[in-house]
Symmetry: D2
Subunit: 289 residues, 4 copies
């Protein structure tokens, strides 16, 4: 790996300071790098097609944004968490050197995470496509009134939700908003979607797990405003009668990982407040056969 | 299809009466049949290796038992529900003729459902293997005290559950005990397991979805009695320190289906009390694009 | 009872037609009546201080609005459901005559339901008071981002919620939005509040039940818009740093009831899809000792 | 306070060692004391009618047992936690001296916690009464099969649960088994019961909150074994057709408390893994008005 991009968070001071440090460290090792500090969705003038790795200096929000640039070019992400929540990151501002050195030497594994592709349709015309690494949410606006969402999977009618919102999440998103709404946990390597309503009222209030090739169509029905939001960032107005069609995105999101595969469970239990000693099998307990 | 087996429920009177009817109906069409009315796990003297279809006259409990005979021979099941719950059945005592006629003519589709294979290990020796179409439960005995269950997936430590029980369910089982314990719903064609604790106390209380190739190892830790139960039927004592290893069973369970693929959602919503009109997309609403 | 008010729903045609019928029926019995068809919160020119009963022709939304007029005058409500949901009503357009006749004759019981009083405070000044029969919700606006809500009860710090919204509901509201958000059910005669977060993220996600004399103070903390909504109808903007203080309203909401006290459970189970036969204790089962 | 009883845990070594320490400390202050180390329900030969305070050296299990001796004599409990879980205790082996000194000087408040009284009835005869500080559970035996439980409150039919078990808990019990089963949290001063099913299958799966004067009658219906367990300790066999009647116990359980009333929330959030900083209202945030 000898061409690395660095994405900084323009509004986090530590991100810029760490950026300087990472650049110097890379230069000392003879690795060329470029830096961008984009805000939101503005295009970045960076040679992504010639880049081997993108280092994201930020929290999970920064990683979600970075995915929109890296995915089309199949460039893996290496995240150093300088945000509040860094569930997607590989390293911390204290621990990145050893891990990044291993990545540059090729001593890492590629984690491929499912992305979803969403299309908003109105009057048989495509309004806008979306890509999401966490989830797509179709939900009510500021008025605290339910919306109706008719769900079809592979052209089979499933049910009508009456709820604040409906979340369609990837395994990556299963630990984000979908978890808050009561959804199950899916380790990142799974190839599934999960559909979770928020505050379902006298209608299906169970999460539904679907396979990666499912074609998920959601028709919206309400008398007030509603929104489609992808990864908690891009929001567009949805009108009554609109249909949102969700399928697997053709490319995965790649992450360069050094930690062992169990890192997902270790971090998750840490975040949920279940301390590590719980996991100790105890003295005299053999490992599983 | 010209060799059909009939499995009757020895303790349900309607099952025997319906058996006579089905046998006559098959004979009129020149289809050879054999009949068995086994109780529990007793072996049946039936030429399963030369059988094209097994008709199960009973409820879901009968189907779960029938799977233990049909799966090794790859024989599909056609269920006529004469029990209280017939979620797995294809037909009712009123509706079976047309559907069975279509199956005999080859006008049906094969539903392949994931089965799980469980092994109970003690002191590095295999105590007993199990097969289950719904779920395997490792749970407390009569004493209302929690047990500890250390979960590993593919040799990664996941967490320690402190709970009444831990359920490992197939998609088929996701609408049975796992649903009662708060698990998500998985349509039958999914290739996933779902792990759901029952009444988890200050430990992970979220369902976990896993892929079909996962190797699930559960080590049990308690000072009182515990049991492993497969499909709510076979129960064996588990000792503290035992490990239960669960993987995908090498063969699926086959069902001969005539109804369209959406039958799963229609039945599920019916059972959950969400009436069909909810599903109507309404006048003027085009089908999804 | 000889002075009765009738509140019609100005936007539901059946409500006006039923109003004519009720008026004629009352006149035949020599009962004086007045009619109002207010929309939203407009004042009504009606002699509520001289009124013995208010008949509400509408659904639960109409009853929630009617409470704002009847409560200050201690006038009981008799609801005839012409809306979609009539959980608070006593009668239907088919069944009201017998029941209303019994009420006029004094053959009824008074149901007293707890109301809550909420005050929005900003910079140590009271912005606005609210009254609610169902619930007060403090929630995010159109942007799907969490807000932080610091809860104090009787000046004791309880916890900080990170969620879409926080609901403080009465027993009446326990079957409305609070139920959708996962709250417990409270029969209407209870003197408790219930606090339920919506989609709590890595923070307390359990409902909390409080006693009627609790002083509930919620301080709001977010970088985007948030709203306070009372009974799903009145909504005002909340700013970061604002505090909402909720206590019991000094007067209850009165309902004139003819049905036996178990009506709450019968309707609830009906709405939840649990059919009545489930409740049959079965032949040979004595009543409870 | 000059007559104090000490209840030790016969099976915990630290409990006996601490007992010696507490006895010496009391003697130095001229306070007479007696000691008992009973196992389970055996009677203790102690002058409870002449005792001002009972010090419990153990965990929550010890406190639950102690309540059975102290409640009839209205003697308050002061718990020093030497068990794994000490949610009911006031002090720790490190912190007891100051707190106990304050209690002896009368500088404390009395916490009165609701107890429940349960009666098991069979064929119109009372089989056995029970008292519980946490909860009464009516649940299945070792066989993982549901039981049916018909619930009546104040002679009104409520619903039929089809579940592993039904829990009737006090506010004290709301943080124990009832919490694991999905119940709401009730601070200890509440005067309510909460009814929570465990793994309810296609039947009411919502917790139900009731007032302290409710008469809760549960009729049991199953074809296999079931048990009634009070406070996780005393278990008796229940037969199909039996009815369990639960009401408020005539006396409360008293605790001598030195900590401020908010201690319940502080401990609860600690146990649930929500760290204290979450509760900080932040700089510049005034206290609630």
């Amino acid at each position: 790996m000898n061409r690395v991009g660095i994405l900084q968070q323009p509004r986090i001071h530590e991100s810029a300071a760490l950026g300087d440090e990472v650049r110097r460290w890379l230069a000392e090792r003879g690795v060329a790098s470029w830096t961008a500090a984009p805000w939101d969705d503005e295009p970045i003038a960076a040679p992504l097609n010639e880049t081997d790795l993108v280092i994201v200096l930020g929290g999970d929000g920064s990683t979600l944004r970075a995915a929109r640039w890296t995915v089309p070019f199949n460039v893996p992400i290496f995240g150093i968490n300088v945000g509040r929540v860094g569930f997607l990151s590989e390293a911390t501002p204290e621990s990145w050197r050893d891990k990044l050195a291993r990545v540059l030497e090729g001593d890492f594994w590629l984690e491929r995470r499912l992305l979803l592709h969403a299309e908003l349709w109105r009057d048989n015309g495509l309004v806008q496509p979306f890509m999401a690494l966490n989830e797509v949410v179709i939900g009510r606006g500021a008025q605290a009134r339910v919306i109706r969402l008719h769900l079809r999977v592979d052209d089979d009618l499933v049910t009508t939700y009456i709820a604040d919102a409906l979340i369609v999440a990837t395994p990556t998103g299963s630990t984000a908003y979908a978890m808050a709404a009561g959804g199950p946990l899916l380790p990142p390597q799974l190839q599934n979607f999960v559909v979770v309503p928020v505050a379902a009222h006298l209608s299906l209030n169970r999460p539904l797990v679907l396979h990666e090739n499912a074609r998920i169509a959601i028709q919206v029905d309400m008398s007030h405003e509603a929104y489609l939001t992808a990864d908690g960032q891009k929001s567009v107005n949805v009108e009554s009668g609109d249909t949102v069609v969700i399928t697997k995105h053709e490319q995965p999101c790649l992450f360069a990982r050094v930690e062992s595969t169990g890192f997902f469970y270790r971090r998750l239990m840490g975040r949920l407040g279940f301390s590590w000693p719980h996991l100790d099998p105890g003295p005299g307990r053999p490992a599983t056969p």
